[in-house]
Amino acid sequence: MGSGHGHRLHYHGHSPLHRAPAHLKLVGLLGFALVVVLTPREWYAVYAGYLAVLLVAVRISRVPPTYLLKRMVVEVPFVVFAVLVPFVATGPRVDVLGLSLSEPGLVAAFGLLAKGTLGVLASLLLAATTEPADLLAGLERLHAPELLVQIMGFMIRYLDVVTGELGRMLVAMRSRGVDPRSPRHWPVLARTLGALFVRSFERGERVHLAMLSRGYTGRMPR
């Protein structure tokens, strides 16, 4: 069942950034993201400034840059989309390396990429320097809705259990000659995910029973 290792996003350390109170970091991230999103796309130098700030923060945190880079793959679908924009967008065209690209498209693509990358990098840095439990406590201190914080807590708690369950189901499939990576077997994979959903749902019911059995009445004790 559960695995012996910590959270995949968290990088253990004792830097000032690791030690900073979680709610301050959360507010910092929120503020940063807001400012980045509101900055006009054409202010290229300002974006370079944002990146510099982030890189300094990474430096202070002593999280290896490669550790963050590897986890930035979540951004890939986003990047693909951004790269397509200059090809399909309308407006005046410019020639870049022999390709005819839309000029407003290029600007839009830059905006998407710059804002996306900065946001993802900042979020990863927060996740790398903050334990999930501290993050939840931080959210609580910021008066995030209690139910929301509870749900996120359960998500973190059962992430390992559910991924472990999925892992075992995939092993069982492979042992019976199904290759989850081959498109031919995707229907089987879809059914497996369905089963995983049902199992997770039933687990949720059992957890709820266990909570009721210990006097839970709908509010977390505090």
Partner: protein
């Protein structure tokens, strides 16, 4: 004396119409350790879920130390009856062992120093006090099972109900859990398929089959009744023969009358 557990004529069918319990009578007195045996699908877990009001009986009654299991008493019933579920991952849902053990007593209204005291005491009883700051999902299965027992002990239950406590434990963890259970000063009802475990820990055994109690007596007598065992799909594991092991001795091995 009022029995800790008083089940009379309990019948229950699941919403899909399957009759899981068909008139169960069971009395457990203070200080007893009783094994609840029976084949897969006999209704053992269903019975357990009636003991603290998770399921509502179709007919019949359940009372805990004289208090009927009814809606208006649920909070007190759930304090009196401590259920340890089969899968510790269902039972341990908080971020740390301490928070998890504190969940029950905090729901009872304990706070601050008293709560901390209660948590440490329960963790001490199962030998897990050193793990109080760890997240439960980073513990081994046997450790999680022990913490699950502690979460329930922290509520100071009058009766501890365990659903297959020895399942998935390695032999050493299984024995350690037996030592813990034997050392507790609490009434125990233990659902199990592990017949040697039942003989070792519980002087008295009740056999449930197809929703009915078909035997109730000294565990040694139940396990050595070949006809009964065969009729209800109960089989001794290879190499285990209670007749060779002998009738367990000691002051607690004689089932109390009643």
């Amino acid at each position: 004396m009022t029995p800790v557990l008083d089940v009379r004529g309990l019948a229950y069918a699941y919403p899909d119409g399957h009759a899981a319990l068909r008139g169960v009578d069971l009395h457990v007195h203070a200080g007893e350790r009783v094994a609840l045996l029976g084949p897969n699908g006999a209704g053992k877990t269903t019975l357990v879920l009636h003991l603290n009001g998770i399921h509502t009986p179709e007919s019949g009654t359940v009372a805990v130390s004289g208090l009927p299991v009814e809606k208006e008493h649920l909070a007190e019933i759930r304090r009196r009856v401590g259920i340890v579920f089969q899968d510790p991952d269902d039972q341990l849902f908080m971020g740390s062992v301490r928070d998890d053990v504190a969940f029950g007593p905090a729901n009872l209204g304990l706070r601050g120093e008293a709560l901390e005291q209660r948590v440490l005491e329960a963790l001490d009883q199962v030998g897990m006090a050193d793990f109080r700051d760890r997240p439960p999902h980073h513990l081994s299965f046997g450790q999680r099972r022990r913490v699950a027992v502690a979460t329930v002990l922290a509520m100071r239950p009058e009766i501890l109900v365990l659903d297959e406590p020895s399942s998935n434990l390695d032999p050493a963890s299984r024995r350690e859990l037996a030592d813990i259970l034997r050392g507790l000063d609490v009434t125990v009802l233990m659902v199990t398929h592990d017949l040697p475990y039942a003989l070792e820990l519980c002087p008295r055994a009740v056999v449930l089959s197809e929703g009915r109690v078909v035997a109730d007596g000294a565990t040694y007598d139940v396990l050595t009744d070949d006809a009964l065992m065969r009729a209800h799909r109960l089989e001794l594991p290879f190499g285990f023969d209670p007749r060779v092991t002998g009738r367990p001795t000691g002051p607690e091995s004689a089932p109390p009358a009643g």
